[in-house]
Amino acid sequence: MSKPLIRAMRAKAIACAAAALLLLASTWPAAAAEPIKIGFGMALTGGLAGNGKAALIAIQIWAEEVNAKGGLLGRPVQLVYYDDQTNPSTVPGIYTKLLDIDQVDLVVSGYGTNLEAPAMPIIMQHGMTMMGLFGLAVNDQFHYDRFFQIQPNGPNAKISSIEGFFEAAMTAKPTPKTVAIVGADAEYPKVATEGAREIAKKLGLKIVYDRSYPPNTVDFTPIIRSIQAANPDVIYVASYPPDSAGMVRAANEVGLKATVFGGGMIGLQFAALKQQLGPMLNGIICYDLYVPEPTMNFPGIKEFLTKYQPRATEAGADPLGFYLPPFAYAAMQILGEAVEETQGVDQAKIAEYIHKTAFKTVVGDIRFAANGEWAEPRIIFVQYRGITGNDLEQFKKPGTAVVVAPARYKSGDVVAPYTEIKH
């Protein structure tokens, strides 16, 4: 080889070595800090995927923000998650894997009552603190003191998350006297319909139809027909997104007649179903957590949504993000604060801290009751009206989902009967 060539090669070699050393030096501190692993199962496919994916984005936004500021206690946050396919039987396996193989430091639940409850025995076995992302009265059967829940159900979740519906229904004219209660044969709808039954009895409503259907039902026409045959004034449905959609479609196909129709139908809050069903939603009274009505403007929420919406649209998740994402983000805020303030990942200390602290989050101030639920419930009920066509922009403005209960956030009166308002 010629001399100039050798010199050139030597120079390049020295440059490379220098670059490598610099690189090593810059990564050294980060490599030394062990990440804090947060593990969870999440519905990325299946019936709840619409909001499962949305929750994941919200959690990812939080993790990125935290890591940009140097992580928790100087350690980067690492998310370890698996798709639970909205199938409860995958959940025990997922959390066993997270805790035994992946050795995560903190756990969060999946999305939904059906997916949260099956994790509880494993979580309790390992003594982990569980931050629940939306579930109805999950802790009522486990009485676990390290369980928390970010959906604003209130300590008596079964009742307080449902009574608004009946509160609004009873204002309809003519005053309802009979009620039909229907729900899927799964954890959430079972608990919800129990609550509905109790409330109906307290209000003196006669229950003329009270049945459940198997979770994988796809044909709801026989069910709607049976309900119609009983001629109820009020129809309360507790369902998951595929069933909610099926019920609404069947109601349209059969031409359902009632004074009030709706209830605890999960999925109607999601952008995907709003788009799919469009005007079929008109008249339905359904629960919700946040709608852009003037009575619900919490500090920080508009900023979060601005960050969330473009990312979600790109990722194919819920583009509106009104339902789960702000709360998932708030849940992580709480968990992160607890870790920082207790200076570690000791599950008992974290649980203790969360129990006794009032937190400020993007969904307002949160305090937890002894059973892990919100000390003060904040479930609202909205009535859909004036929806035309299938575009989503109309939902970003007030007027399409008017809050009819509770009184504190009310922005309009119930319009009845359901049959009239539809057309």
Binding site: P88, K97, D100, I101, M124, F142, A186
Partner: protein, 318 residues
């Protein structure tokens, strides 16, 4: 080898296996081992009816789930030590096996198989509509604080399943070498001829279905404690059927060792796939593995690995 000797050797092997697992670095090994051993029992049990007698049972899940659900009932009604629950589960499933045998006694070949499928769905529907065990909502089992014998609960479950596996294999081998086994083989080869020759085919078939069902029920009994959440959809899943048919077929259906080989092979592959998140950790991958292996073996090596080994070990004729 005499039967008594075999039992002793089997127990010794079981003890060695347990010892090895105790040295494992991670609690998860016991979980994985539990699942694989469960398949050993299911495959061996299926083979008694399928391989020895020639009747293909698609309803494995039903017997398995009945064992699991009898545990759920006992858990809510009258908690007792798990070994006792195993016996109860086995009895329930055995009785159902007997009943199924009576119902399907006249059916041959594929009609029997379809009937087993039908029975499984009917049982699943009954359980789904039974609110006491949770129906579709499912049932939650909290493991007791105090574990008998060992420190943690999962090793205890593993031990139970290991004992069951040893017992099942020993029973299978004992049958194979006994007059009962010859009777089964006669039925498998030509049932009409066997009947003509005086073999009490009905009685033998009933014994096969009862025994097979009972063992499957016993395999199912510890399951709720392992999984902590049981719902009919997962308990009665058709996946159990395909696994319990594929494993004996791949291992070799004519011998007691075939189901073990098949279960160990396929079970281990599935566990490795789960742990290494092959294909993103999608549980459907386990089904793909067993489906592909099943089709491959049924085309290429219908006598299973045992059959292949026998062919290779046969002395060549010149």
């Amino acid at each position: 080898m005499r039967t008594a000797t075999f039992w002793i050797i089997a127990i010794a092997v079981g003890a060695i296996i347990f010892g090895l697992f105790l040295l494992a670095p991670n609690a998860y090994y016991f979980s994985a081992g539990f699942t694989v051993l469960q398949f050993v029992v299911l495959a061996t049990a299926w083979n008694i009816l399928g391989g020895y007698t020639g009747y293909v049972n698609f309803g494995t899940a039903a017997f398995f789930a009945l064992g699991a659900y009898s545990t759920v009932v006992l858990y809510k009604l009258l908690p007792m030590p798990i070994p006792l629950m195993v016996l109860v589960g086995g009895t329930v499933s055995g009785l159902v096996g007997l009943g199924m045998g009576y119902l399907t006694l006249r059916l041959r070949g594929v009609f029997f198989s379809i009937a087993t499928l039908a029975m499984a769905v009917v049982l699943q529907t009954l359980i789904t509509n039974w609110d006491y065990v949770g129906g579709s909502r499912g049932a939650y089992i909290l493991r007791p604080q105090h574990t008998p014998l060992l420190g943690d609960f999962v090793p205890y479950l593993f031990l139970i399943m290991l004992v069951l596996a040893v017992v099942a294999v020993a029973i299978a081998r004992t049958i194979e070498r006994s007059r009962l086994g010859y009777g089964f083989a006669a039925i498998r080869d030509d049932e009409l001829a066997a009947e003509a020759a005086g073999v009490p085919t009905l009685r033998l078939k009933l014994m096969a279905t009862t025994l097979s069902g009972a063992l499957m029920g016993m395999a199912g009994a510890p399951y709720p404690y392992f999984i902590t959440y049981l719902d009919p959809a997962s308990g009665f899943n058709l996946n159990y059927a395909v696994n319990s048919i594929a494993m004996p077929l791949i291992g070799g259906m004519t011998s007691w060792i075939g189901p073990i080989i098949g279960a160990l092979l396929i079970g281990s592959i599935q566990q490795i796939a789960t742990v290494t998140n092959f294909f993103g950790g999608n549980p459907a991958v386990n089904l793909l593995i067993v489906g592909v292996l099943l089709v491959a073996f049924v085309i290429i090596a219908p006598n299973g690995i045992v059959g292949l080994a026998q062919t290779w070990l046969k002395p060549r004729r010149r």
